[in-house]
């Protein structure tokens, strides 16, 4: 295992120390060591929070900042934050206008958020939730409520954070974030497995020369294992999964987000993006804005995810709003 570590059991706490020092202009620590908050949160707005397991940098703390999330709960690697951390994030973000908790559909996160929402209610804080489920490969369309949340969460935070910054009330923020995720579909292709530092070896296998279509952010098996293909063919596979599911159609204006899974060189993501753009253009789908880079990763997994969100006037305005965080800077 070629990794940069001290004691692997302490990696999350040590990562947070470095993160807070490096980005002290954007974020700050709170009383709960597993809750990070944005600096200089504007007064009187609805709070926006999220949380999730570690190992997905920039997600989730990387989206704590201006016009994005106000506070973020941090879990162990690939493991939900505690109910106490979600609760403390809600407390830090609440200004009496309520809190929107925008998170991904995983059983641990669902349980801990559920408990936190209950405890927040007792403390007089209204927390409403949107659960991201953009990963097309994780369940059939008829069971969309079972699908996992993946890189589409970034667009959900962008939209929800912007709506709150514009002065939307809690129901409006929730509605905008829900619309964002309802309009979003994603798929991933994995080219190599990832290793939890404290475990020391990969807990699943992707053989050299093969790739796994539909892989999850924790190595959850995908829909098909096949031979490694060219970027052109990979793009076609991804587009063929994502586009018909929503479905995105000729004349639609969309946001396209291509994220690396951690170890794939960013230059290769642009090769993939070029192929994706050709296919979307052929279909008459117009890309209003593209994000290419490491936006939602999976430790040192190789591979990429494709996320497409259909825009309307409201979503376009919210996506175009400036934002500043470690993971997303937009001016």
């Amino acid at each position: 295992m070629q990794r940069i570590l001290n004691n692997p059991d302490n990696i999350v706490d040590e990562m947070l120390k470095g993160f807070l020092k490096a980005h002290s202009d954007i974020v700050e620590a709170t009383e709960n060591p597993r809750v990070v908050k944005a600096k200089n949160i504007p007064e009187g707005k609805v709070g926006v929070i999220t949380g999730g397991g570690s190992g997905h940098k920039p997600a989730f703390v990387g989206y704590c900042g201006k016009n994005l999330c106000d506070a973020v709960a941090v879990g162990e690697i690939c493991s939900s934050p505690t109910a106490a951390a979600f609760l403390d994030a809600a407390k830090v973000a609440d200004q009496g206008k309520g809190v929107a908790c925008l998170y991904g559909n995983y059983s641990g996160d669902n349980m801990n958020v559920k408990m936190a929402v209950k405890q927040a209610k007792k403390a007089g804080i209204t927390v409403k939730t949107v659960v991201a489920n953009d990963d097309v490969a994780s369940a059939p369309k008829t069971e969309r409520e079972k699908r996992r949340g993946v890189a589409g969460e970034v667009l959900m935070w962008k939209v929800g954070g912007a709506k709150a910054a514009k002065g939307g009330d809690l129901d409006e923020v929730i509605a905008a974030a829900q619309k964002a995720i309802d309009n979003t579909r994603s798929v991933g292709i994995g080219l190599s497995p990832c290793t939890l530092p404290a475990v020391g070896h990969p807990n699943f296998e992707i053989k050299d020369g093969t790739m796994e279509v539909g892989i999850g952010h924790h190595g959850e098996p995908g829909i098909e294992v096949c031979e490694l293909e060219s970027a052109e063919k990979m793009a076609k596979r991804m587009v063929d999964v994502v586009v018909p599911d929503y479905p995105f159609e000729a004349g639609d204006e969309v946001v396209v987000l291509v994220s690396g899974l951690g170890a794939t060189p960013v230059m290769e993501l642009y090769v993939l993006y070029d192929e994706i753009d050709k296919l979307l253009t052929e279909k008459g789908i117009k890309t209003h804005k593209a994000y290419v880079g490491n936006y939602f990763t999976s430790l040192e997994m190789m591979g990429a995810t494709l996320t497409i969100m259909k825009l309307d006037d409201e979503l376009k305005e919210l996506i175009d709003m400036p934002a500043e965080s470690m993971g997303l800077k937009q001016f």
């Binding site: 879990g75 162990e76 106490a84 939890l196 475990v199 807990n203 098996p221």
Partner: protein, 212 residues
């Protein structure tokens, strides 16, 4: 003896801790087959935090269960934090006023833990979760209490029921948790939660037996 003193319960908790610590790697492997492989690590972390914090303290069986559950719930998170946190804390609450714990009392405590779990998850027997281990264990203890069975014999039966429950998950298709995304592909592998639950119940039974 037919009962043990709640006040004497510290060694039972330490035995449960050791059970998890000894099986950290095994649980990681089981979880890695259809989950994400972090089960052993996270359970070990939570149980070891408890050991570190309380090994030099005096505590009763139910106080220990409550403290361990609280650590899992508030400091570990994941899925297992709320699941085991709820089971252990609800067990503790059901038994906190007891001085002597016999088979009937333990049955009630474990039943309360299962009931608490069912409030936060919808899983039933057959869904390939730790309910498949816990539920038959509760049934066996309740039956033993009603039949006036010897505590030691009842604990042996509970261990067998827990192991049988754990093994039953092998041929099931997961309906809850991360492995449920795999559908048919989850068949043929033990459920990690059912496995850790069996380790904890077995260690608890062994710890109690040593006090009897």
């Amino acid at each position: 003896m037919a009962t043990f003193k709640n006040a004497d319960g510290k060694p039972i908790l330490l035995k449960m801790v050791k059970g998890i610590q000894d099986n950290k790697a095994y649980l990681g492997e089981v979880d890695g087959l259809i989950g994400d492989g972090d089960h052993g690590m996270n359970m070990n972390k939570g149980f070891s935090v408890f050991e570190e914090r309380f090994k030099d303290e005096t505590f009763t069986f139910t106080e220990g269960l409550d403290e361990l559950g609280t650590i899992l719930l508030n400091e570990i998170g994941g899925s297992m934090g709320p699941i085991y946190g709820t089971i252990l804390m609800d067990m503790a609450e059901a038994g906190e006023d007891l001085e002597e714990i016999g088979v009937a009392e333990l049955a009630k405590m474990l039943e309360a833990g299962l009931a608490g779990l069912c409030e936060i998850v919808d899983a039933k027997v057959g869904d390939k979760t730790l309910v498949d281990t816990l539920s038959p264990s509760v049934d066996v203890l309740k039956a033993a209490a009603e039949g006036g069975k010897d505590f030691k014999a009842a604990l042996e039966e509970m261990k067998e029921a827990a192991a049988k429950g754990r093994d039953s998950t092998k041929d099931m298709v997961a309906k809850f948790g991360r492995s449920s995304r795999l559908g048919e592909r989850s068949r043929g592998v033990l459920d990690a939660g059912a496995t850790s639950c069996c380790i904890i119940l077995t260690a608890m039974a062994d710890g109690i037996t040593e006090l009897l």
